[in-house]
Symmetry: C5
Amino acid sequence: MLINCVVYQEGKKLSDIPVEEISRWVERPDCFVWVALRDASDEELATMQREFGLHDLAVEDASHGQQRPKVEEYADQLFVVMHTVELDALDQLRVGEVDVFVGRNFVLSVRNRSRHSLLGVRERAEREPHLLRHGAGFVLYALLDAVVDRYFPIIDLMESELEALEAQIFEPGSARTNVQQLYALKQRIMAVRHTVTPLLEAVAKLWSGRVPAVCEGNREYFRDVYDHLLRIHASLDSLRDTIGTAIQVNLSMVTIEESEITKQLAAWAGIFAAATAFAGIWGMNFEHMPELKWQYGYPLALGTIVLTCVLLYRRFKKVGWL
Amino acid sequence: MLINCVVYQEGKKLSDIPVEEISRWVERPDCFVWVALRDASDEELATMQREFGLHDLAVEDASHGQQRPKVEEYADQLFVVMHTVELDALDQLRVGEVDVFVGRNFVLSVRNRSRHSLLGVRERAEREPHLLRHGAGFVLYALLDAVVDRYFPIIDLMESELEALEAQIFEPGSARTNVQQLYALKQRIMAVRHTVTPLLEAVAKLWSGRVPAVCEGNREYFRDVYDHLLRIHASLDSLRDTIGTAIQVNLSMVTIEESEITKQLAAWAGIFAAATAFAGIWGMNFEHMPELKWQYGYPLALGTIVLTCVLLYRRFKKVGWL
Amino acid sequence: MLINCVVYQEGKKLSDIPVEEISRWVERPDCFVWVALRDASDEELATMQREFGLHDLAVEDASHGQQRPKVEEYADQLFVVMHTVELDALDQLRVGEVDVFVGRNFVLSVRNRSRHSLLGVRERAEREPHLLRHGAGFVLYALLDAVVDRYFPIIDLMESELEALEAQIFEPGSARTNVQQLYALKQRIMAVRHTVTPLLEAVAKLWSGRVPAVCEGNREYFRDVYDHLLRIHASLDSLRDTIGTAIQVNLSMVTIEESEITKQLAAWAGIFAAATAFAGIWGMNFEHMPELKWQYGYPLALGTIVLTCVLLYRRFKKVGWL
Amino acid sequence: MLINCVVYQEGKKLSDIPVEEISRWVERPDCFVWVALRDASDEELATMQREFGLHDLAVEDASHGQQRPKVEEYADQLFVVMHTVELDALDQLRVGEVDVFVGRNFVLSVRNRSRHSLLGVRERAEREPHLLRHGAGFVLYALLDAVVDRYFPIIDLMESELEALEAQIFEPGSARTNVQQLYALKQRIMAVRHTVTPLLEAVAKLWSGRVPAVCEGNREYFRDVYDHLLRIHASLDSLRDTIGTAIQVNLSMVTIEESEITKQLAAWAGIFAAATAFAGIWGMNFEHMPELKWQYGYPLALGTIVLTCVLLYRRFKKVGWL
Amino acid sequence: MLINCVVYQEGKKLSDIPVEEISRWVERPDCFVWVALRDASDEELATMQREFGLHDLAVEDASHGQQRPKVEEYADQLFVVMHTVELDALDQLRVGEVDVFVGRNFVLSVRNRSRHSLLGVRERAEREPHLLRHGAGFVLYALLDAVVDRYFPIIDLMESELEALEAQIFEPGSARTNVQQLYALKQRIMAVRHTVTPLLEAVAKLWSGRVPAVCEGNREYFRDVYDHLLRIHASLDSLRDTIGTAIQVNLSMVTIEESEITKQLAAWAGIFAAATAFAGIWGMNFEHMPELKWQYGYPLALGTIVLTCVLLYRRFKKVGWL
Ligand SMILES: [Mg+2]
Ligand SMILES: [Mg+2]
Ligand SMILES: [Mg+2]
Ligand SMILES: [Mg+2]
Ligand SMILES: [Mg+2]
Ligand SMILES: [Mg+2]
Ligand SMILES: [Mg+2]
Ligand SMILES: [Mg+2]
Ligand SMILES: [Mg+2]
Ligand SMILES: [Mg+2]
Ligand SMILES: [Mg+2]
Ligand SMILES: [Mg+2]
Ligand SMILES: [Mg+2]
Ligand SMILES: [Mg+2]
Ligand SMILES: [Mg+2]
Ligand SMILES: [Mg+2]
Ligand SMILES: [Mg+2]
Ligand SMILES: [Mg+2]
Ligand SMILES: [Mg+2]
Ligand SMILES: [Mg+2]
Ligand SMILES: [Mg+2]
Ligand SMILES: [Mg+2]
Ligand SMILES: [Mg+2]
Ligand SMILES: [Mg+2]
Ligand SMILES: [Mg+2]
Ligand SMILES: [Mg+2]
Ligand SMILES: [Mg+2]
Ligand SMILES: [Mg+2]
Ligand SMILES: [Mg+2]
Ligand SMILES: [Mg+2]
Ligand SMILES: [Mg+2]
C-alpha cells in the first residue's frame, strides 16, 4: 500500500507525485524522491523496481520478507533491512521489518508487519530542511534512528521484569513460576538480540572505513546510531548473562530449600520414632514388666517420652535442623 | 552413474554429447559443458579427470567422499564440496554430499548419498538463457542455491520440534522423555551446524575480497547464498542456545518436583507419626492408666488423634507443603 | 553549574575568565582554556557549544547522559565519555559520568551524578607547569588517570568481599546467604565491567596506531592509563570467573550436606525401625508366646533391642553414615 | 638410532651413504639427502647438526622432546614437530613425537616414543619418482600426511565409544560407570585435541600467504593435509561438545531416577503408615471400644485396612508415583 | 639493594664499577653495563633513572610494583615486567616480580618479593662470551628464559595434584574435601594463568613482526621463550578445563551416591514397614481373632513376617536397590 510519494528539492518538499512519474524525477540531479510503502504487494514492488532500477535480488528479499537485518550494496544503490520490535496487546513480542532502498537521489522504504508508523520521521525531516538537504543518506539515517530508538523501551521493560524476578528468586515457594518466567524472558531477550546484533554489524559499514557514497557526508550520524546499538547490545549481553546466573541461582535455592526440608523431616522423624519406640516397648505383653504395675508408671512413662522428645527437639534446634 | 552431459552456447542448450567428446568442446571458448554424475565410480571420475584436466587431490576428495564442505582453488579451477541434508522415511537425518568442479567453461557436479535430484536446477537454468549466459559461475550459484534452500525446511522442522518440547518441559511427569528428545534434537542440530558453518566460511570466499575469476561476474548472487546461510546459521545458534537452556530448565523442574514431593512426604509422615504415637501411648500396658477406663475414653482418644491430624494438615497446607 | 573557567599560557595559569570570553581566547594559538562544569544544564551546554564550536551530536550525548564510555572524533575535536564508580553511604555502587570535550587548545569537562570532585586534577596540574605545557592532550590524560585510579579501591573491596565469601562457602549452614551475596557481588562486578571494558577499547585509540592529533605528544601517558585499565580488566575477569566457580561449589556443598543428612536419616530410621519391629512383635496378642512368660523375658527383650540398635549404630558409624 | 641415510637425484635413489659424507652431498645442488633417526641420542643429533648445519635451538628441542607441535623457520631451514597418537596393548593413548628438519636439499626426521614406523613413507615415495622429484618439500608433506592419516582411526574409535555410552546413559542403573567412562573419554579427546590444534595452526603456515621457500611448489599438498586436520578438528569439537552434554544429561537422568524413587518411597510410606495407624488404634487398651467385641470386628478391621491401602495404591498409581 | 654493577666489553667482564660511574660507561658504544637490584628503594631507582636516562612512567611502575606482565617501548628503551612464581614453605603460591630496563648498551634488572636469585643467569652468561657478545638483547633473553623455566615445575606439581584428585573423585565419601581441594587448585591455576597469558602476549612483540632494535639479532631466542610460554599456556588451559569437568563430575558422584542411599533407605523402610504392619495387626485387641489362639499361631506369624521380609529383600536386591 502506498503511503507517500514526494519529491524534495534543496531539502524542501516540492510536491506529491504519482508513482509513474518517479523515474522522470529521479533523473533530475537536483531533486530527490522519497517513497513509503506498507505491506507492499509484489505488483507495487515491481512498479518500484521499474521506476528506480532496483536489483532483482534486493526486490526478491523485500518481497519474501523474513530477512536478517543487513546492509547490502548493489552497485551505487543500498539495500537495508532492519527489524522493528513491538509489544502487542498481550505483551507478546512482535517482530516486524523495514526494508529501505537508497540511491543517489531517492529513498524507498517498505514497512511490514509493524503497527508503528514511520510518518513521524518524514514530518520531523520536513521541519528541518537544513538537515534534509543532506539528501538520501540523511533520510536513511533518520529511518534507522527511528527504528533503533524504539528498541530502548523494550530493553527497559525487560530490565524491569528481570529485576522483579531477581527479588522473587530468593523468596521461597515460587521456584516453578520463576523458572518459567526466566525461560520466557530469556527467549524474548534472544529474539531482540537476533535483531540487534546483525544490525550493529551492518551499520558499522555505514560509518567506519570505506562507506557507500550515499552515506559519505553523514558518517557522524551513522556512528551515532551505531553507538545506540552498541549500548543496546551491551544491555542485552548483561541481561542474558544475568538470566543465566538467575536460572542457576534459582536451582540452588530449590536445592537449599529441599535440603532444609530434609533436615526437618529427619528431625521430626527422629523425635516421633523415639516416642513410638518407647510406647512400643511398654506395649509389649511380657508378664514380668514391673514398671507396668507401679502406681505412677504411666505418668513416669509419659514424662520420659516427653522429656526425650524435648531433649531431641532442643538438640535439633541447636544444630539448625529445626 | 552419468545423468547428463550437455554443451551450451550463449546460454542455450546445443546438444547432449558423449563423454569422450568433452575435451574437444571444452577447448572452444564460446561454449560451456555441464556434466552431472550420481554416486560416481572411480572409473567415471578418472574419465572426467582426463577430459577436464582436474587436479589429483580434488579427484581424490571426490572419490573418497566424507569431505568437509569447502571451496578450494586449483589454479583456475574451483573444487566445491557441499553437504545435503534430508530426512529419511524414519525421520532420521541423512547427510549426503555434492561435489562440484568448475572451470572457465565447464561444470561437473557429483551427487552422493542423496535422494533429492538436482535436475530441477538444470531445467530452471535452461528456461532462463539470459542468466545461464553468465556461464559456469552462474551454474555453480544455481547448485549452491538449490542445496542451501533445502536446509530451510529442516530448520523449520527442528524449530517446531523444539517448540513442542518447550511446552512439555513445564508439564510434570515427562522429564525422562524430555531429556532424551532434547538430547536427540541437539545431536541433530549439531549435525546440521557442521554442514552449514564450513559452507558459510567457504561461500564467503566467492563474493568478498578477491574472488576466483569464474565467480567474478556473479558476486551478488553468491552474496545472496551467503545471506541465506547466515540466516540458517543464526537459527542454528538460536536453537542450540535454547536447547542448552531447556536441558538446564528441565533439570530444574525435576528438582523442583522432587522438592515438592519431599514436602508432601514430610507432611504426611508427620501427620501419621503423630497419630501412631498417640495410638502407641494408649496401647501401653500400664495398669494405672485412668483414661482407658473412662466411658468415653475411646471416642475422646479418636477425637484427639483426628484433631491433631487436622491441625497438622491445616498447618502444612498453610506453609504450602500440601 | 560552572566550577572553573581558566586560561593557561605556557603551562601556567593566566587568569579566570568569564564564560563569554572563551571564544576570544580559544582563537589565540599560544593559550589554552580549561573549563569544568558539574551537572550542566542544557543552557550551559548551549553556551559552551557556541563558544567552543562543539558538534551537535556530542552535545546531545552530554546533555542526555547515560552514554557508554567511548572516545569519538569530530573533525579535530575529541569527545570522551567515562564512567565514575563510587560507593554511597549504603555501600551501593553508584555510577556517574564524566564527559570531556577536547580541542586543539581547550578542554571542557562535565561531571554528572558523582560526588568525587575533579578539582584535585587541576591543582596537581597547576603545580607542574612543565607537564601542563603539553596542553589539552595532557589535561585529558590527567582526567582519565584520576577517574581510572578511583576504580582500584572498588576492585580491592570486591576482592576482599569475595575472599570472605570463599571462606564461608565451606562452612555448613550458610548456603542461602552465600548464594544471595554471591549473586549481588556478581551483579556489582558486571556493572563495573561494563564501565571498564568499553573504556579500555576507547583508550586504545589514544595511543596505538593512528591517534588524534591532540594526543600525539602524550602516547606514553595514555598507554599508562591503558595499562591500568588492562590490570583492572584482568582482575574483573578473575573475579567473575571465581564467582562462577563459587556459585557452583556452593551448590555442590549443599548437595553434599543433604547427602550426609540423608545418610543420617536413613541410619537412624533403620535403628528405630528395628527397635519398633521387635517391640511390635512382642506386643502381639498370641496366646502361645512362651518368652512372654519367662522370668527374665522383659530384660532379655530389652537387651536384644538395645544390642540390635548398638550393632546397627556401629555398622552405620563404620560405613560413615553417622 | 640411524634407520636410513640415502641420497636422491631427480627423484630416484642414488645410494645409501655413510653419515660422515652427508655434508659433501648436501653441497651438491642437484641431489637431496633424506635421513631417518629413531629415538636419537644427543651424539647422533650433534653429528647431524654438524653435517646439515642445524640451528642450536632446533637441535635442543629435538633432543629434549616434549615439544608442542609447531613449524619454525630458522633462516632457510624448517623445523617441524608433530605428535603421533597410538593405542598401546591396554588401549591407553600413547603420544609420540616426530621432529623433522628440512633444508633446501635435505630432510632429517627423528621419531620418538612411537611404534609405528615411517618406512612406508619412504617406500611409497621411492615408488613415485615423479613426485619425489619435487624434493625436500614433498618429503615433508609425505611425512605429515602419514602422521595425520593415523589420527583418523583414533577419532573413529572415540566416536564409537561415545555412541555406546550415549545408549547407556538412558538406561537406569549405570550412572556411576557412565560418569567414569565419559570422564576418561573426555580426557582422551582433550589429549588428541592438544595434538591436533597446534599442528593445524602450524600447517596453515605452509600453504597460505607467504610460505617457506622449500614448500612453495607443494602448496596444494599442504592444503590437503590442512583440510584433513580441519576435519579431525571439527570431529573433536563435536565429540567434546557431545560429551559435555552427555555428562549433563547423565546427571539429569540420576536426578530423575532419584525423583521417581522418592515418589515410590513416599507412596509406600503413605500406604503402610495408614495400615499401621489403623492397627495402632485398634491396639489401644481402652475398655470401651465396642467394635473390638463384634463378632466380625476383626475381618471388618482387616477389610478396612486393606481397602484403605488399595484405594491409596490406586490413587498413587493414577498420579504416577507408583 | 644493589647486587651487581658490572661493565662488559666484547662479551667479557671488564670490571665491577661504582654506581655513579654508570652514565660514563653507558656513553661508550663498545661496552655494556649490566646492573642487578633487589627490592630496590625509591632512592636507588632515582639514581638509576639519572644514570641510565629512564622514563618517568617506567620508573614509577618499577617503584609501585604489582604490575601486569608486559613489554613497553619508551623511545629506544624497553621496559619489561615478568612475574616469578614460587611455592613457599607452606606450599602456598607466592608471586614475585622482575622488572627489566633494557637500552642499547645496558640492562637493569630489579627483583622483588622473590627468593630465587638470578645470579645463575649472570654466571652462565659470563661463561659463554660468544653469546654475551650479542649484548643487551641477549641478556634480556637470558633473564626471560630463567624466569619462564621456573614455571615448569609449578605446572608439573599442579598436574600431579590434579591426577591425585581425579583418582579420589570416584571414591565414595570424600566429596567434601574433593571440592575444597579442586577449588583451591583452580584458584592456583588461575593465578599462574594471569602470570603467563600477558607475558605470552608481551613476548610475541619481541620476535614477530616489527621488533625493538635491541631484540633484532635475537629473534629466534625470543621465539624459543615464546614457545615455552605457549606450552605452559596449553597445559594451564588443559588443567583449567579438566578441573571444571572434575567439579561437575564430583557433583554427579555425590548425586549418584545420594540416589543409591535413597534407594537403600526406601528398601529398608519398606521391609520394616511390612514387618511392623503385620505385628500391628496381630497386636490389635479384637476379641475374635482366631489365629491368636492357635497352638502354632506365634511361630506362624513370625514365619509370615520373616518370609515377607525375605521376599521383599530379594526383590529389592534384584532391582538393584540393595
Ligand atoms: Mg547472533
Ligand atoms: Mg554477538
Ligand atoms: Mg556496548
Ligand atoms: Mg557487545
Ligand atoms: Mg558487551
Ligand atoms: Mg557491546
Ligand atoms: Mg542439585
Ligand atoms: Mg561457528
Ligand atoms: Mg544470521
Ligand atoms: Mg554466525
Ligand atoms: Mg549467530
Ligand atoms: Mg549468524
Ligand atoms: Mg545440578
Ligand atoms: Mg562487556
Ligand atoms: Mg572483554
Ligand atoms: Mg589484563
Ligand atoms: Mg581481558
Ligand atoms: Mg584477562
Ligand atoms: Mg585483560
Ligand atoms: Mg588448545
Ligand atoms: Mg579451536
Ligand atoms: Mg573442520
Ligand atoms: Mg575447528
Ligand atoms: Mg565446527
Ligand atoms: Mg571446526
Ligand atoms: Mg542434582
Ligand atoms: Mg587471562
Ligand atoms: Mg588465552
Ligand atoms: Mg600452546
Ligand atoms: Mg592456549
Ligand atoms: Mg593453547
